[in-house]
């Protein structure tokens, strides 16, 4: 079977999907640690004339983090 993923996505996305599937196959304790490592949060901020705009998440997080410190 030829790999049809190349028609639809980049190698990066292919790798992310395969890694996500692998993490879901782990036992519960290892899975929790792996999912924590794997979470990628991206925030962006538009700048105009030297003034910063509002910080927005690319994908809003599901839960509010209690401490309010921004992710590194």
């Amino acid at each position: 079977m030829s790999s049809t993923w190349r028609e639809f996505m980049s190698w990066n996305k292919y790798t992310q999907i395969a890694s996500r599937a692998l993490r879901q196959a782990l036992t519960e304790t290892d899975r929790v640690a792996a999912e924590k490592r794997a979470a990628i949060g991206v925030r962006y901020q538009l700048w105009e004339n030297g003034q910063s705009g509002e910080q927005n998440y690319v994908v809003p997080p599901a839960k509010e983090s209690g401490s309010g410190t921004p992710p590194v």
Binding site: F8, M9, I17, A18, A21, L26, E28, A34
Partner: protein, 167 residues
Amino acid sequence: MFASRFAPALRALPRQASAVRMARRGYAEAADGKLQLSLVLPHQSLYSSAGVIQVNIPAATGDMGILANHVPSVEALRAGVVEVIEENGQAGKKWFVSSGFATVHANNTLTINAVEAYPLDTFSAENIRSGLADANRVLSSSAPESEKAEARIEVEVYEGLQAALAK
């Protein structure tokens, strides 16, 4: 006369031979002739320039075994088992790798970059089975081709896992 002409040539010969021998030894070639392996994940370094005998990798073009002084190559990996044989006669250590790249450099080093790699005993057969069932359900449904392509990747991962655990 013949002997005198011959003697200087004979004296020069051993020096020449040792110079050739020195030139053939590579820079990073360890005295023990082992392959230098670096198997790294984003969060952890499993091997960091460690001398090993053989590494088996699941390349997208087929399974390969890499020994010392392999020809330089770059291989994309598919989901499969990377096996590292550290000493002759020892059983290989296995990790199931999700995806990545394996690069053999000209100085007898092998670098494997993988996103996720775990030993085979950290997987749950139940989770694999349910993941495979979910992916197959998407494949047999009327989802768009892009989603089916994603499901096919997951099927490849889970079936590879089942095959690796069954051995």
